[in-house]
């Protein structure tokens, strides 16, 4: 049994592994690089906590560790549940794995092991540096580090097993939504109304004028109170930090083992028996009975043909649209809340410059994070790319059709955000439009860059085989570059505005325009040369 689980796990890991290590030297370099990254993240976290502790007089103690831990782990549970719904029940490899001479339970366990290993890998760069930086900052006892390492190994089990349990009702709910889409619409409307009320409550709660220095202690104490009350919901994560801080080690360990055993038992008796039932149903042939209304069709140019096709595919997969554009849809709300809060603060000229720059950074980070779909635009053509290669027309127009959609959607939300910013009064109207122009130009540049990543390194076969863009290197690169560009342009804006606001605007808009022209020129050239050289 264990041998079969091991084989199934290795099989799945092999399919996901992008880089193959060929020799010991490469392995050494790869391990060294990982180690260096962990050290770097630990240092960054240490300095960040040190800064918060020393410059804001904010206590970084066990209570805060519990808070950070449970928030991060709750997020892990949510992401893990979502991932497991796909991996367990909707994965393409189910058809292959379930046909192997192994029990269904063994396939199920192997999938959980794979998820655990992925969580462990993530935690290597999140939890481990977090624990070490906390420990160094608070100069804790050596046992803390031993406990940290044990917790680093144990903690990923929780999100995986809890995710496996939660994924079952959620899978049924998903099916229900598919059957009765009206329920889904009601839920979304409910969520929007809820968010609206939350925002209103938050805005009303902001004192005007907001004197940060005057209410600083109140704010810190309030926050600590919030942390303390929030920790009541931390459940068994309280046991974890207690063990790390050597408080009732044996009793807390016993509780933790009991909780863990309970979750494992629930998984064993609920999730495992239902797994095959759900997994096999999702793979069964689904015959669509929807008949689309026949409309008269005129001959189109290649560009309009691509554009129409893209629009149809987009609107017929609304879930994907929401996933792809979630952050950009939220951007107006986030920027609005941020600016309402900032508008209550009385600021100096430097403060105004910082607010303007900060708007650019936050806006750019949100908007550029949605450009991952640009970084997978060619990849997601998958096997269909063959048609583009054999068609006797300028099929590189397909790229422009996709770009146009991204340009329009992102520009619309940037304009909407700018409109909402005018209501918030944190930034004057004269300053909002240059911010808007910068964000539009830089975002367009980033869209072109993201497309270029995919143009130069499309993963057509991977997508054709898996139907997924998970761990796509171009998407990861796009997010990283977007983050960097956002920070650089925002920092530059703060720097230039601080010198002379009006001249600063001219300079930064000119820089953004020059950047866009450069990216456009390079993209057109790359498209001309490399699109026809893409092979399938």
């Amino acid at each position: 049994m264990f041998e079969r689980i091991k084989l199934l796990t290795l099989l799945q890991l092999g399919g996901r592994k992008k880089k193959v290590v060929h020799n010991k030297k490469q392995l050494l370099v790869s391990v060294l690089l990982k180690l260096l990254t962990i050290v770097a993240i630990t240092l960054v976290m240490y300095f960040a906590f040190n800064f918060i502790k020393n410059y804001f007089s904010f206590p970084i103690n066990k209570s805060v560790l519990t808070f950070v831990l449970f928030i991060s782990q709750y997020i892990s549970i949510i992401t893990s549940t979502s991932a497991l719904m796909s991996i367990l029940y909707n994965s393409k490899d189910n058809a292959i794995l379930l046909s192997y001479p192994a029990k269904h339970n063994e396939v199920f366990i192997s999938k959980l092991v794979v998820s655990y290993l992925e969580q462990l890998n993530k935690n290597l760069f999140v939890l481990l540096p977090l624990f070490i930086s906390f420990g160094v900052l608070n100069q804790v006892a050596f046992f803390y580090y031993i406990a940290s390492f044990i917790m680093f190994l144990v903690l990923p089990i929780f999100p995986v097993f809890i995710g496996a349990i939660l994924s079952i009702p959620l899978a049924y709910i998903k099916k229900l939504f598919k059957k009765f889409p009206v329920l889904y619409v009601i839920l979304i409307i409910g969520l929007i109304v809820g968010v609206f009320f939350l925002i209103s409550a938050f805005i009303d709660a902001i004192p005007k004028p907001l004197r940060l220095v005057a209410i600083y202690n109140k704010f810190i104490n309030g926050f600590l109170e919030f942390v303390s009350s929030a920790n009541k919901f931390a459940l068994f994560y309280n046991f974890v930090t207690d063990i790390m801080y050597s408080i009732n080690i044996w009793l807390n360990s016993l509780w933790l083992i009991l909780v863990l055993s309970g979750i494992v038992l629930l998984t064993n008796y609920i999730s495992m028996p239902l797994y095959f039932n759900l997994a096999s149903k999702s793979n069964e042939h689904q015959n669509s009975n929807k008949v689309k209304k026949l409309k008269p069709v005129n001959q189109k140019t290649t560009f309009t043909a691509f554009l129409t096709k893209e629009l149809k595919l987009t609107f017929r997969n609304i879930n994907k649209v929401i996933n792809d554009y979630a952050l950009i849809i939220l951007m107006p709300i986030i920027l609005f809340i941020m600016n309402v809060a900032l508008s209550a603060i009385i600021v100096t000229d430097l403060g105004r410059a910082i607010i303007a720059g900060f708007n650019i950074i936050v806006g750019m980070v949100l908007v550029s994070a949605c450009n991952t779909q640009s970084a997978t635009a060619i990849t997601t053509e998958g096997g269909e790319f063959v048609l583009l290669k054999t068609a006797p027309s300028k099929t590189s127009n397909m790229v422009w059709a996709k770009i146009l959609i991204n340009f329009i959607v992102s520009t619309f939300f940037i304009l909407l955000s700018s409109l909402l910013m005018t209501i918030s009064n944190a930034v004057t109207i004269q300053n909002i439009w240059p911010i808007c122009a910068i964000m539009i130009l830089v975002n367009w540049s980033h869209i072109l860059m993201s497309f270029q990543f995919d143009l130069l390194n499309p993963k057509l076969r991977d997508y054709a085989e898996s139907g997924k863009t998970d761990n796509n290197p171009n998407a990861n690169k796009s997010v990283l570059v977007g983050l960097l560009i956002g920070i650089i342009i925002g920092a530059l804006a703060i720097f230039l505005f601080n010198e002379d606001m009006i001249l600063g605007w001219y300079k930064i808009v000119t820089i953004a325009l020059a950047f866009f022209i450069l990216r456009l020129y390079l993209f057109v050239k790359n498209l001309r040369v490399f699109f026809k050289r893409i092979e399938y």
Partner: protein, 738 residues
Amino acid sequence: MIYAIMVLGIAMLLFALIFIEKKFPKKIHKWIKIITFIFILTYAFRLLNFDKFDNIIGLQCDYMSKGMVAWMMLLKTMLPVATIVTAIEPFRTTYTTKNILRFFVPVVTLLNIIMYKQNLMMFFGTSNVSAFTLRGIFFATELIFMGGISAYYLYKFIINFEKSKRYLNPLKCILAILGLMIACLPVNFFQTLFGIFGEEALDFNFTHRAVIYLSFIIPLLIYFGFRRKSKEECKTLLIYLATSCLITFCYTIDINSLNYTNLPLHLCNTGVFLIFIAFVFNIKSIYYFTFFVNVIGALFAMFMPNYSGSLFIAENIRFWYNHMYVFFLPVLAMVLKVFPRPTFKMIKGAIGVFTIYFISMIIANAWINTFASVDYFFLQGDTISKHAQFLTDWKNLYIWKVVIRGVAYSTSWLFDIFVYVGYVFLMFIIWLVYDYLFKAQDHYTRLNELDKIDMLNIRQLKKRLNGDLTLPINIRGKNMINISHFTKIYAGSDKKAVDNFSLKVKNGQVFGFIGHNGAGKSTLIKSLVGIQSITGGKIEVCGYDITKQPLQAKLNIGYVSDNHAVYEKLTGREYLNYVADLYLVSKQDREERIERYSKMFHLENDLDREIKGYSHGMKQKLVVIASIIHNPKVWVLDEPLTGLDPVSSHQIKSLMRKMADEGHIVFFSSHVIEVLEKLCDRVAIIKQGKLVGEYSSEELKAKKMSLEDIYLDSADDVVEDDVKSLIVAGNKGSKESN
């Protein structure tokens, strides 16, 4: 008296060199190098002695008029250029520097001889100087060497006038002289001529930004000026710049006042010497040390300069020259390809040199701080440790102390380890950054090359077709597929997937294509329809070259791929209309064809449903309809019958036959010999990328030969190979299990 000695000295040196050349023509270069080396030592002595001239501000001087000070400043600016050229030219010769040595150096030497007394006044800061002081004698000797060597080069020019004058380019020489004057500008140039002016380069004010921009613009200009020059020329340039860097650094050094506390041991100071040594002696480990360590150190220093006062005072100009050079010279050497790109081995070497430097600094700090106060590499002070409490704690708590003969030598060992590891970590980060930049450089070089090739191909084709690209390149091949010596090698592989394959297929035929798995069938088909590139040979479809005239060729091709990938969220009709748009089919034609073929394949009731609900066979039939929506002359099908039910299979076969009968070419691959035998007019067998044979069905029938027998005969060795590999694999497996 001294003037006569100098003139006589120059004349004697010139005659000595001419004599050596006449008597020992093979040894003249050796002798010039020896004399030059003595000249370098003489100059070095003078350079390391501080001039009082460097204290003059705004031409104010009590022993000389303002006009004379300005003139002497001009001479002082030209002298290092003459010196550098004289020192380097015998070792690394170029036409430009040779001409500078012939014409510019003698003039500068002569002017300095004339102004000899004024020069001495500048050295000592008084009008009351003797011509025969030690520095005076060294300076006179320097002028004699410079004058003698340059006069000899001038003499050579005169006697070889006809040959030498061809290489004379006055404009290039003037530009090079001006460039070198800027490269080794005396650091007191601005303060002497203009006094203390210019603001302090602090807090990223305009001045600070301007010098930072210059630090990037200057190397860029040099790069664009020299990027197409040979490696040797670039190396010569770098040696000139490294020497200029050394000279500007040494301008304000006074060897007499050097002590343990002001040794040039800081990272960027050592960089000046290391870069010079690396370039002159071609020592790679030192070069990569400067590339990984000094560049980033200098960049940090430029962003956060720790000086005070106007930018244009001598010390600050020295600061900027020092750091600018140390920042851009190693990078310039890399982008001009004088040194190869770093590998892991090279970074190891750089870490090795850094380790030696680091340990030396720990020892120097520990030793010198027992009797003075120094902070080399910031290991002693709080420059680094003040940024984090734990570093301050480590620095103060973890101290290693050694007492030797009653003297306590100490170092903060944990802090030192942290700094060392941190810097090595930084080196790896820089390596990653460099690697990214190298990739970008490679990419854009390739992009430009490919773009040029594409443009050239289009121009040539236009010329060949008298400007009309819609005409077939081969008019005689209008009704056929013509594959000529086609070869395909996949990227990253050295194996030929298809090797020197030639075939002609005429219209009105169903042409079948058979071969074992991996024989190259799909490769050939993919290249034929334009999905994959062609390594060698050419493929023409209806007279159009698939590589050079892809759009025209593809207009004549309909293709059914082996993976039947379709957009599942579209309806069948939408998909067909989309394909029709791409193939430029008119509204009328497409409507008629969609109706005709959907009825033929019994799809008419499902066309308005989303494709995701289609079965495998329905998808296959949809792809078949899409491939002929534009009524192509050539219909290419890759394994079209795989996975189809008998009815669907029959429908497609009938359509293939019908198309051929209507004058189209039907070209398809299959594994099913019976289908090929019954359906095809001609059949080709491919084996390991090579065409084994081409057979007509009628011939086979006439000779009563079976295609199966022919195929199995031709495939025998392939089958044998497969069996052998299976046996080997089986043996391996059994050994492992044992």
